[in-house]
Symmetry: C2
Subunit: 414 residues, 2 copies
């Protein structure tokens, strides 16, 4: 083959974990292990920090069955990091160290699995290697429950979190309406800048019962309008279920969750932390009824037992395609998804995007998918999200509890 | 049949909802609909309040398929209440009203599905009916995620919550150890007086990864010992996962979650509400590391998608047996479970207990199942709990989301 490049590869995981990031890692690892020109497969301990610290796990020494369990093992099995690489033009210490490690292990392929920041890291490493003359193919494998990566129809990890959120909202909706006294329940959902996850709660209301009101960070939050919304639903039904994104903010940009006593919320409350907590207290004082705040917290991003099998497959595919494309000569690219609807059937294909086109951009929920009143999303979101959450995860269970991958994580030595 | 008593029946649901209380209701409703001597089946809207308010749903007019979906529909589909009946010797107004309704609809069978308080209600109604001369058979059908009902090996609802807790702890345990910096995660689990649910988190540590430390309300909570425990695990592993029961309390009986600033916690903190929140802040100040508090909140009691199918079947069975026993002449009894281990295989049978023996007693986790250090439970708990959580729920899904029962809830008219 013209483009043949023989050498080892490194796979690293970065940023917040998801239910399917290990499925992507498995896509990379399995495909790399099976590739003729990839001579050794290393897993970086805690992302790029593992490279810098010379802590690489030898994936060739892992048991094939245990590796396959990565498909349904939540969180980042190799460990993650939130390490922001400096601009190499200002300080190239880290990059020189990475080159040193790449040379030490003859690393010719680098796969990095993460969100915005990770694609930025990927891009910088890719450009540094090109400049330094070390032939090395660098590929980004997307991941983020936030679904905010630019240029891809959706991101691996999002759909499983969306399914967890929708199902949990259906369940809570059943629970929170059981007594005949009034009750307001406020569910706080992840998403600091993009409201894709909070919007997912719409699936619950659309297909059964779910939030009456949904607030996203794409639009400014207005406390008076919010209280008016809650009061209206309460007067109508006696129960209100509200979904809020953790990132809802006032017009001045201050997060509702961070607004201090005397500052923006204007209600004289000490800060409790968390949008749901703060709103719960304000609604309680306003309506005088029972209010409960629920934070889905880490549960929503690690709920592998409720993953979308479509998401699991696509996450694996993203990793697989990254390796195949790199082996064929691609570099400096991220694997992205394209959606095709054929006779009402959803199909997903992949494409490669330049990392430069992806890094540091954020894709938000289209404003036209948010209702005029800014308190819900339209059915367009349902059409977008529904195909992504389909399929039940083929989890391996032992004693009716999940059996996750148990890797040996033997440190590489050369 | 000697004991034949013809007439209508009422099924009511009471107290906090569970993932399987509707399975018990279905056990009652299906068996009653199929019974020759039960002429009509009514569902009380919001438990005993529905009887008092003459709000009864006519179950004979429901679609059989929709009723069958109750098996996997969480929460109390008929509505619940927390209405404490007065002592009939002091004030029998409510009882006279119940008798009036029973006579109006010719109710000869009353099934009440709930926990301690509901069994008390049941018992009082049973005794009042006997005294008043209205022939009526009253049966209690147990339910409580708290697992604290006296005289039964376990309670319907507990195992599904336990499975939800164990699985969630496994998932969070994966997520909370992903970065290479130190982290303490504190998970708050329901259980005001009995620690069965918090103890369930032990299944996660036993079978994979879960809490390092577990604190139950059966023993006094000692803040200094707790901080010492956390520090020890932190120094050893750099990560600590803690499970606490919401009901943990100091030696003077004050709940940790309710200890005020200057009062018992002695750390000068304003109250945040919730044991996890309070402990998180104290640990953060003590250790100076990242601490996250997670409250499983309502999610743990309505997680039907993660129910134990054993629990679903037993819950159904409890309802079915209650009807069959009543039809055969039993009254004033609660259905209870007995465990049999035959060649290592778990079998569950039912027995009938007098309501008077059950009402107002609480069954707690045996002290000998709590470790000497009061910071974990022994393997005895695992042996007890594991058989109960087995089997995956046969949930009906539509669009990969739960399809719950949709009842018509047509009000009965006579």
């Amino acid at each position: 083959m013209d483009n043949e490049l023989r050498g080892a590869c490194i796979i690293g995981q970065s940023g917040g974990p998801t239910a399917v990031i290990n499925a992507s890692a498995y896509g990379v690892i399995r495909t790399a292990l099976d590739s003729d020109c990839i001579t050794r497969v290393y897993g970086a301990a805690h992302g790029i920090k593992g490279v810098l610290d010379d802590k690489l796990y030898d994936m060739n020494r892992e048991d094939a069955y245990e590796l396959s369990l990565l498909l349904h093992t939540p969180s980042s099995e190799l460990g993650s990091c939130r390490y922001k690489m400096k601009d190499p033009d200002e300080d190239d210490t880290d990059y020189k160290r990475i080159l040193e490690i790449f040379q030490k292990y003859n690393v010719r392929y680098f796969f990095y699995n993460g969100g915005n920041d990770s694609m930025d890291t990927c891009d910088k490493i890719s450009r540094f290697m090109a400049k330094s003359g070390w032939e090395c193919r660098v590929m980004g494998v997307p991941k983020t429950i936030d679904n905010d990566l630019y240029g891809t129809d959706h991101c691996p990890g999002f759909a499983s979190a969306a399914k967890y959120i929708a199902t949990s909202c259906m369940e809570v909706s059943k629970d929170a309406t059981v007594y005949d006294n009034g009750q307001v329940t406020i569910i706080e959902i992840m998403g600091r800048h993009a409201g894709w996850l909070a919007a997912s709660s719409k699936l619950a209301s659309y297909f059964g019962a779910g939030p009456d009101l949904i607030y996203l960070p794409e639009v400014d939050f207005d406390m008076n309008a919010f209280l008016k919304d809650v009061r209206r639903v309460y007067e109508d039904k006696g129960k209100v279920l509200v979904a809020v994104s953790e990132g809802i903010h006032y017009a001045d940009g201050v997060f509702v969750a961070e607004a201090q006593t005397s500052a923006t919320d204007g209600f004289g409350h000490a800060q409790l932390g968390g949008a749901a907590n703060i709103l719960s207290r304000i609604v309680k004082e306003d309506l005088g009824v029972k209010v409960r705040g629920i934070e889905l917290s880490l549960l929503q991003r690690c709920g592998a037992h409720l993953a979308s099998e479509t998401d699991v497959h696509e996450a694996f595919l993203a990793g697989k395609i990254a390796v195949e494309a790199a082996v064929s000569g691609a570099s400096g690219k991220m694997v992205a998804f394209e959606r095709h609807m054929l006779d009402g059937k959803y199909l997903c294909t992949t494409k490669l995007l330049p990392l430069t086109a992806v890094a540091n951009f954020e894709k938000k929920v289209p404003i036209e998918w948010i209702t005029q009143d800014k308190n819900n999303v339209t059915d367009d979101f349902v059409d977008y999200c529904l195909p992504l959450i389909q399929g039940e995860p083929k989890l391996v269970l032992e004693n009716s509890l999940p059996r996750y991958a148990r890797l040996k994580k033997i440190l590489a030595r050369v």
